[in-house]
């Protein structure tokens, strides 16, 4: 039995109360160099383009204008307009160009200005990029990265604010990455570019300007993260919180609030949606016996649904002491006005409520 918690005004009031009591912890952040998600993505692109001249970047505004979100800043000047290519405005067109270029030996990175527009190219992504290796029985691989901002943005309503994580992760043949912070973005984008299979790389529009600590290792040119491995962002014994992308932050914020009440959450950052590292989730649940999932996407057939299903099908089911709760985006197209928009996506207070419900704590 699963219960979907949708955010409500009442919860927001509770959250405001809890937030006023919360203690900020920033000790980890002070020890390492800070880098924005945008710069982390940019350095991944730069390093891989320098390393392999088959890597090209194409999309709308990626060259002269440095990308609509400035992720490709400076790359056109450095690598020239043969490798950083401004294209006409046709998503199915440049996605198709990228697929064909990959089939003929290049390693294209196809930027969608936002993943919302990738719907106009969906046939090229699913029917060609994802399936060609299989349909050709291994004759033709399509080493391509489709990347761009994904998920809820601010004040841009239904057609610019949605998560495509569940959509793409449904399809065999694709790998789907949904990174959270700067380290994720750098290490996983580099891995995606080097990968022989097509990868959908879902950046978060709201996090581009956020800074996160980067270890010396993460700053090095050789830093690459393995695709398909989740990361425990915070250890805890009482309950497991699983999330991807910006929802990881929501989970960490909730965990801090709950720690103040003596509840220790283990927060897992999925990093990759396909392959999905269910083992890490199961391992954690075997320890905590409780689970809450968080995602910005819609509830039906979502990432949380998938995790619940996998747990149901495994031994981990017997480790659960109570039903799992999914905290998801509200099951509506994203509303524009600020008061409604905030309510449409998971907030720390929603997670706090879900955790308490799962644990039977008042």
């Amino acid at each position: 039995m699963m219960v979907v918690i949708s955010p409500s005004k009442m919860l927001l009031k509770k959250a405001a109360k809890l937030l006023s009591n919360r203690a900020f912890s920033s000790s980890q952040a002070l020890n390492a160099k800070q880098m924005t998600v945008r710069d982390a993505l940019n350095s991944a692109l730069d390093e891989e383009m320098a390393k392999d001249d088959r890597v090209v970047l194409l999309g709308e505004e990626v060259a002269l204008y440095d990308g609509a979100y400035k992720v490709s800043r400076g790359l056109w000047k450095k690598y020239g307009d043969k490798r950083v290519i401004d294209t006409p405005i046709t998503e199915m067109g440049f996605a198709g160009i990228a697929v064909g270029a990959a089939m003929a030996g290049l390693r294209p990175i196809c930027e969608f200005m936002t993943f919302n527009f990738s719907m106009q190219a969906i046939d090229q992504v699913i029917n060609s990029a994802a399936k060609t290796f299989y349909m050709s029985a291994g004759m033709i691989n399509v080493p391509i990265v489709f990347r761009g901002p994904n998920g809820a943005a601010a004040g841009v309503a239904a057609q610019h604010s949605q998560c495509f994580g569940a959509w793409y992760s449904h399809c065999p043949g694709l790998k789907v990455i949904s990174p959270y912070n700067s380290e994720d973005c750098k290490g996983l984008l580099k891995a995606a570019i080097r990968d022989p299979d097509p990868v959908v790389f879902l950046e978060n529009e709201l996090l581009y300007g956020s800074s996160y600590p980067m270890s010396d290792e993460a700053l090095s040119n050789e830093f690459v993260l393995e695709i398909g491995k989740a990361k425990v962002e915070r250890a805890g014994d009482h309950i497991t919180i699983v999330a991807h992308s910006k929802a990881v932050e929501t989970g960490l914020d909730a965990a801090k609030l709950l720690a103040g009440e003596g509840i220790e959450c283990e927060v897992i950052n999925l990093r990759s949606l396909r392959p999905l590292d269910v083992n890490s989730v199961c391992k954690s649940v075997a320890k905590t016996n409780h689970l809450v999932t968080i995602e910005g996407g819609w509830p039906q057939c979502g990432i949380g649904s998938e995790i619940c299903a996998r747990i149901m099908e495994s031994e981990t089911f017997y480790h659960l002491d109570s039903p799992v709760i999914r905290v998801t985006g509200a099951d509506v197209p994203t509303p524009y006005t600020k008061s409604l928009e905030g309510l449409a996506f998971p907030q720390p207070a929603d997670v706090v409520t879900a955790v308490k419900k799962v644990l039977g704590v008042k």
């Binding site: 006409p88 440049f94 270029a101 090229q124 022989p196 392959p275």
Partner: protein, 433 residues
């Protein structure tokens, strides 16, 4: 669907085309690369201004159609006869006849329930052989689906065709794709994709790749006039023009998109007329004249590689076959129309008449080749039917380069299951590890 406006006087050289037409050739890069907005605007307005409003009508004169032979196979202008000696036209003819034989037998085999799907190339043979013969073997082919003759010309064997259609253990595609979705890395032929026109932007991407890596290769991409209505076609034309890619857009304008006749598919002057709007050069040829197709493809290739630019080549032909085994064309076209094309404008007969008139072919050879072709096809057919099915494990491979854990687990589980219940499975008909 009458091709009635012919052109046969063009000199066959790029230099001639450059001097006497193709103005976009000469305009080329200079203005747009200057980066001066005022100059670009001046160029776009061509410096011509009017002070009264006038509609610009679509051109009344259609783009002329180039041909080398008349309907009876007689060369109209000797200077246009390809200078490739007797071997190639004979080979073209033998290939056409072999293709027809294979098509008829595989089409019937679908009716008998032996394969799930098939479609034939009847009526369009000259577009295949004419274009395939004019390309280099390392030029990359993106086909739509009705281009088996191109593969046959490149050396895909009857066994290759049959094995693919049967999805047996010798199918290079390991039984993963439906019949006629051929692909061959050796022959530079990209595995077919069913959704219409997706191959068009992909072809442009491959051509861009060749340009970027300085490979002297071009890409040819085949499509029908129906597929040209897909948004992908627009995207491909526009991208090929703006990214300046060496690609030949080869349109087989065969009159029908399943049952939709071309006069319901578009209202302008066919596909070639669209080229001007994209700043692309175009050629329209009689697609039932194998030499016209050959000459046009050859010059298109030369142009594409010399300038790193696309060409739109529209071959006017007629789909004598049904669309596929899924339809019956008698429901949407008249028997007289079909008869006209089969009897009076038949690309195979036209080439045969040419060969007979030059003593390159005889009725005796015709009979011998018909017998031999039938024998070859039936033998390959029998071999394909008797071959083992691919290893069933193929189902799990090639989803990703490395098999993911969950698929590996399922494969192992199935292996154990099959081992335990082997008496219930026809394991002898599957290839073993």
């Amino acid at each position: 669907m009458k091709v009635n406006y012919f052109l046969n006087t063009a000199r066959l050289s790029l230099a001639y085309l450059e001097k006497n037409g193709c103005h976009s050739l000469r305009r080329s890069f200079s203005v747009l690369s200057s980066g001066n907005a005022a100059e670009v605007f001046e160029e776009k307005t061509s410096g011509r201004w009017i002070d009264k409003l006038e509609f610009v009508e679509p051109s009344e004169a259609p783009i002329p159609t180039y041909r080398v032979m008349d309907l009876s196979g007689r060369i109209i202008d000797k200077s246009q006869e390809p200078q490739f000696g007797p071997k190639i036209p004979v080979e073209m003819y033998r290939c056409m006849a072999l293709l027809n034989t294979m098509d008829r037998i595989l089409y019937e085999s679908q009716g008998q329930g032996r394969i799930s799907f098939y479609l034939t190339s009847l009526g369009e043979e000259a577009t295949h052989m004419g274009s395939a013969a004019a390309l280099n073997s390392d030029d990359l082919v993106y086909a739509q689906y009705r281009e088996s003759g191109v593969l046959l010309w490149r050396g895909y064997s009857l066994d290759d065709f049959m094995s693919q259609c049967y999805g047996n253990c010798d199918d290079r595609g390991c039984g993963k794709q439906m019949p006629i979705h051929y692909g061959s890395r050796r022959l530079n032929f990209v595995t077919l994709s069913s959704p219409l026109a997706t191959q068009l932007p992909q072809a442009v991407g491959s051509a861009y790749s060749f340009k970027l890596t300085n490979q002297p290769r071009c890409v040819i991409v085949y499509f029908g006039e129906g597929a040209a209505s897909e948004g992908d076609a627009h995207a491909a034309f526009n991208f090929a023009a703006t990214l300046e890619c060496p690609v030949i857009f080869f349109c087989r304008n065969n009159g029908f998109a399943i049952s939709t006749p071309s006069d319901e598919q578009y209202k302008g002057d066919g596909i070639a007329a669209r080229a001007a709007g994209y700043g692309i050069v175009a050629l329209r040829v009689d697609g039932n004249d194998v030499f016209a197709v050959y000459n046009a493809t050859q010059i298109a290739r030369e142009y594409a590689l010399k300038y790193n630019k696309p060409v739109i080549l529209e071959a006017m032909t007629y789909r004598v076959s049904h669309h596929s085994t899924s339809d019956d064309s008698t429901a949407y076209r008249s028997a007289e129309d079909l008869k006209h094309w089969q009897e009076h404008n038949n690309p195979v007969k036209r080439l045969k008449n040419y060969l007979l008139a030059r003593n390159l072919w005889s009725e005796q050879q015709e009979t011998e080749w018909a017998t031999s072709a039938r024998k070859q096809v039936l033998e390959a057919f029998a071999r394909a039917e008797s071959k083992l099915k691919p290893q069933w494990q193929e189902m799990f491979t090639d989803v990703y380069r490395d098999i993911p854990n969950h698929l590996m687990k399922q494969m192992k589980y199935m292996e154990e299951h099959v081992e335990e219940y082997k008496q219930h499975y026809p394991l002898d008909s599957f290839k073993k590890n």
